[in-house]
Structures are given as structure tokens and as C-alpha cells.
């Protein structure tokens, strides 16, 4: 019984640390931010940047600065996804805008 209690207590102490150890590292978050930045640059070059993209990217950088790498990675991935959508929108519009022209 005593051994079981010690084992459970040890687990309760260790689990949070182990969970954190399994979370994104600074390098992983930085990589996610770098990926997002690359896509954002492309979207900007296509004159189609979404405000939500920039907000998510800003949040990622802020989280990274605070050391919350899980949040930084999550926000960076959101920013990258939104940037990809705007790139896709701009790519499609390159062909489709003519359909809206007054004839």
C-alpha cells in the first residue's frame, strides 16, 4: 500500500514535467514562426495579406517572447494556414478577376 502511494505521488509530481518535456521546444516554435513568415512574405507580394494572418503571427511572436512555445507554435501554424489561404485566393483571382469586369 505504502509503495503504491509513493508511486502515485511520484507520478503526480513527474507527469506535468514529463508533459512539458514532450511539448514544443523553442526550436520547434521558431521553425513554425519561420515557416509562417515565409508564407506571409509571399502573400504580401501578391497584394493579398489578411489582417487575421498578421494578428496570429503577432500573437505567435509574443508567445515565443514569453517562453510559451506551445502557444507560439499553435499561433504560427494558424498564421501559416491563413497565409496559405490568402495565397490561394490571390492565385485564383489572377484568373478570375476578369469575370467581374463591367462589359
Amino acid at each position: 500500500m505504502r509503495k503504491t502511494l509513493i508511486a502515485v505521488s511520484a507520478m503526480m509530481v513527474l507527469v506535468p514535467f514529463l508533459a512539458q518535456a514532450g511539448g514544443p521546444s523553442k526550436a520547434v516554435a521558431a521553425k513554425a514562426i519561420s515557416n509562417a513568415a515565409a508564407r506571409i512574405k509571399i502573400a504580401e507580394g501578391m497584394n493579398d495579406q489578411w489582417l487575421a494572418t498578421l494578428a496570429a503571427f503577432k500573437a505567435a511572436k509574443a508567445a515565443e517572447a514569453k517562453g510559451d512555445f506551445a502557444l507560439a507554435q499553435s499561433k504560427a501554424m494558424t498564421a501559416e494556414t491563413l497565409a496559405n489561404l490568402s495565397i490561394q485566393q490571390a492565385t485564383v483571382q489572377k484568373k478570375l478577376w476578369v469575370n467581374e469586369v463591367v462589359k
Binding site: N47, L51, L54, L85, Q88, W97, V98, E100, V101, V102
Partner: protein, 283 residues
């Protein structure tokens, strides 16, 4: 997370994918565009004469038009006009002034802007020309959206009041490309809301967006710079572009960007033949 990304990408494909029946790009023909553009509005709103389009939303809302007439008894841009005149006539530290930078001393020339500068291969708006003048005379550029720039433009535009807009797109590949880029920008959907300029100002022109009447694109440039009650001060056409971009959740371009220069070029060319009616006042 990966599955969410895949789902979002899939959703976007579903959104944009079926729209794959784009028409082939037509040759660049500004004159034909102008005829079609003005013809579209004249046919759609047969009770609004061409010259009246410079009054924007007031053609479509009697209550707003009545308020506007009352407001114009004491035009809210009058202070800006007076300030602009003083700024325009003030001497630079080197003894020169704005008049020295423009044909006809800068008086009665606003109807010719934006114009294409063959030397730089770029479109020059009146605001950018004012900043060029400042830089040439050792002064810093002014902000292109509001403040002293809007005041100076208000004065310069007032000296062209009633003159017909006469923007020229010369037969120059770069000029035609700039015009076409502006046209493409105007008709391209952008931002998270997937709206183009034309979505509101062509397709929904004259309709209500909540309490506001959407002004038609035709005649829109004729009354800038203008005093907007919403702003509480003067703003230039570029300021309006920035506001529209933000409304569709798109990050705005830089005020002196090629995107906005070209957009102003196309949009003002579409107003050729309409009288300058600036500065103006809007809700």
C-alpha cells in the same frame, strides 16, 4: 493540428476550386473600358445623369442628400481649404514654393492627376507630386493620407472645381501595364471576406450596407480629398483605399505603393469627363 490545416485547405479548395471558368484576358483598351464602365451605371440608374455621379451616395438617399445640403451651408472642409491655401502659398526655406513645381503654378491642374511619368515608368498622384516637390526643395515628405497633405490637396483640387477630369493613359507599355494593374486590383477579390472593390462599388452600388449607402465607383474620385463625418477630419483617396481594404479584413498596402497608385489611375480614368467636385463632404 495537421488535420485542421488539411481541413482548412480543403475548405478553401471547395470555395475557390469550382470557379475555374475564367475568361481569357482581353487586350488593354482603356477607352473601351471607360465607355463600358460609364455605360453600365447610366443604364443601371437611368435617372442619375453622368455629372451627378460626383455626388456619390447622395444620388440614392433623399434623407442623406437633405442632410448633405444642410451641411454644405457651412462646409466642414472649409478650415482645411483655408489651411491648404496658406500651406500651398508658403515659401520653402530655399525661397521657392509649391507653385514652382507644377505647370500653371499648380492652379487648375488637379483634373489631370494621376498621370503617368514616363521617366520613372510609374503613376504619379497629385499627393505624390506634392511630396516630390517637397523633396526636391529639401523638405520631408508629408503623410499621404490626412493632415497637411489633405489640406494642400483640398486647396489644389478646389482650383479645378468644375473642370472635367482628364486622366491620360498614353500608348506606352508601362502606362498600359499600370492601368491594367489598377483595373485588376479593382476587380480582384481579396481579404478574408473575399470582396473586391467592385463587389461593393459596382455590383452593390446604390444599395445599403447597414445604415450607409454604397457609393458607385463612377464619380468616386471626383470629390477627394473630402471631409468624412466618420473620420472627423479630411482624408485623401488613399486613406479611403486603406479603409476599404481593412473593411474586408485585408491588410492595406503602403500609401505610396504601386498598388494604390495604379488603382487611383484606373479609377480616376473611369471618371474622365466628369467634373471635379472636390473637396467634398461625406457621412
Amino acid at each position: 493540428m495537421k488535420s485542421i490545416i488539411m481541413a482548412l485547405m480543403g475548405a478553401s479548395l471547395a470555395l475557390f476550386g469550382p470557379l475555374a471558368s475564367a475568361r481569357a484576358a482581353a487586350p488593354i483598351n482603356p477607352q473601351a473600358d471607360l465607355k463600358a464602365f460609364q455605360g453600365y451605371f447610366l443604364k443601371r440608374f437611368p435617372n442619375v445623369p453622368l455629372a451627378a455621379y460626383v455626388n456619390g451616395p447622395y444620388n440614392f438617399s433623399k434623407s442623406e442628400a437633405d442632410q448633405w445640403k444642410q451641411i454644405m451651408e457651412f462646409p466642414p472642409y472649409q478650415f482645411a481649404l483655408d489651411t491648404g491655401k496658406s500651406l500651398f502659398n508658403a515659401k520653402f526655406p530655399n525661397g521657392k514654393d509649391y507653385a514652382s513645381c507644377f505647370p500653371n503654378g499648380g492652379i487648375g491642374i488637379a483634373q489631370n492627376y494621376p498621370m503617368f511619368d514616363a521617366k520613372t515608368g510609374r503613376v504619379v498622384t497629385l499627393g505624390i507630386a506634392v511630396n516630390r516637390c517637397r523633396v526636391a526643395n529639401g523638405l520631408k515628405k508629408l503623410k499621404l493620407t490626412t493632415g497637411p497633405m489633405a489640406d494642400i490637396l483640398a486647396y489644389m483640387t478646389s482650383t479645378s472645381d468644375g473642370k472635367k477630369i482628364n486622366v491620360v493613359v498614353p500608348n506606352n507599355p508601362k502606362a498600359l501595364a499600370a492601368y491594367q494593374a489598377g483595373k485588376e486590383y479593382f476587380y480582384s477579390r481579396r481579404g478574408q471576406l473575399n470582396f473586391s472593390c467592385a463587389s461593393c462599388h459596382v455590383q452593390e452600388a446604390g444599395m445599403h450596407l447597414r445604415g450607409n449607402v454604397l457609393a458607385p465607383a463612377l464619380g468616386m474620385t471626383a470629390s477627394f480629398p473630402l471631409y468624412r463625418s466618420k473620420w472627423g477630419n479630411m482624408g485623401t483617396l488613399v486613406r479611403r483605399f486603406i479603409g476599404c481594404n481593412k473593411k474586408v479584413h485585408s491588410a492595406p498596402a503602403k500609401p505610396d505603393s504601386a498598388a494604390y497608385r495604379d488603382l487611383a489611375y484606373f479609377l480616376t480614368y473611369m471618371d474622365n469627363g466628369l467634373p471635379v467636385s472636390g473637396p467634398g463632404a461625406r457621412p
